[in-house]
């Protein structure tokens, strides 16, 4: 499991993912203030920025297995701190 990172607004962290055929999950925990948005981007050709708004204290997770061994940049697109980590 990757180390947990606290991201302030505008900050980002880069994670690796498991190779094709294996799952990797991104976990996010919104702080008590809410009004946060997590963004994640697969560092390959022609990928868009994915975004998910988060409410105060809301835990959230999503599969980033589509990256299949590529890097994924996770960023804080909102206005309050979030904690992020992966199961890889």
């Amino acid at each position: 499991m990757s180390g947990q990172s606290t991201l302030s607004p505008g900050q980002s962290v880069v994670y690796s993912t498991r190779p094709v055929g294996l799952d990797t999950t991104l976990f996010v925990q919104c702080g008590d203030k809410g009004d946060s948005v997590v963004g994640w981007h697969i560092e390959l050709c022609c990928q868009g920025l994915n975004k998910q708004p988060l409410e105060a204290g809301q835990p959230w997770q999503t599969s980033i297995s589509a990256a299949a061994g590529a890097l994924v940049t996770v960023s804080n697109q909102g206005f309050n701190d979030i904690k992020v980590w992966t199961d890889y």
């Binding site: 880069v14 690796s16 560092e43 061994g69």
Partner: protein, 284 residues
Amino acid sequence: MYDPIDDFFEEHPAITAAVDWAQGASAADWQRVARSGDAVVHHMQVLNEQRRHALRARLLSDAGRAVPAPADSDSDSDDEVASDAAALLAHIRSVFEAAGQLPEHVHAFLTHLSSDPDGVAALRTWGRGIGFSGPEITWLLEDVARLDHDPIGAIAAAGGLDPLFAHAYTGPDHVRAGFLAVDGPQIPAELQALVSAFRQRGATPSVFHLLPAVAGLTWLSGMAGGEPENEVHAATLDVMVGALGQCWSGRGCSGKVLSRRTSQRTCKTIGGKSLKTGTGCYPV
């Protein structure tokens, strides 16, 4: 009255300065640039063919459909894929090593190449020639634009070429070839910095961001003693010289840029005058 051709004309010094510099450098170095530029084209063509098959196979597999074998499965072993990707990186690196320290006006020329509409047209022709799809070329050029048309500068500011080459994927997964990757979950600090710096500007770091400069330097090599032979370069030169010919028609521009040391191709018509073929091209 505003005339867009005047803008083009004003940017002309960046091109002539770059060619002046190139023609003052070692012909042997430019021959190496030309050879490496040709090799980049070859390996990109192979890699793109493999990569496109891999992308299609992944889509079919995800949809639960049968995946056809590659067209030339004999040459598609994992080892060969890895060696193609590694060779591509080596030849890209060789282009920059042979060209040496690039002066400011060469950076200006490369910036001009990817920002001017005619330069973009040339790069699109080149990109298609090396096997990229239209959307992939658009993605690359938009990424380069996000880096102010100076990916070399952006890479240098984010740690330099070494971490880029060190972490560019060259393994058997075609989809990741040329992009940054690591084995395992640990991300080295220099890789974290490089990716984050690019992401802040909305770009994805890859060795492909160096390709416009490879095209530009190979084009310069054709004017400075090198002789790129791959027809993909020739197609690019046609677009470039054609565009410059429009600019220079009746403008009294220096003909130096048009003086290409090549004996293998028919020169373009510049300003309504046909240039000589044979031992070289001459300014009108």
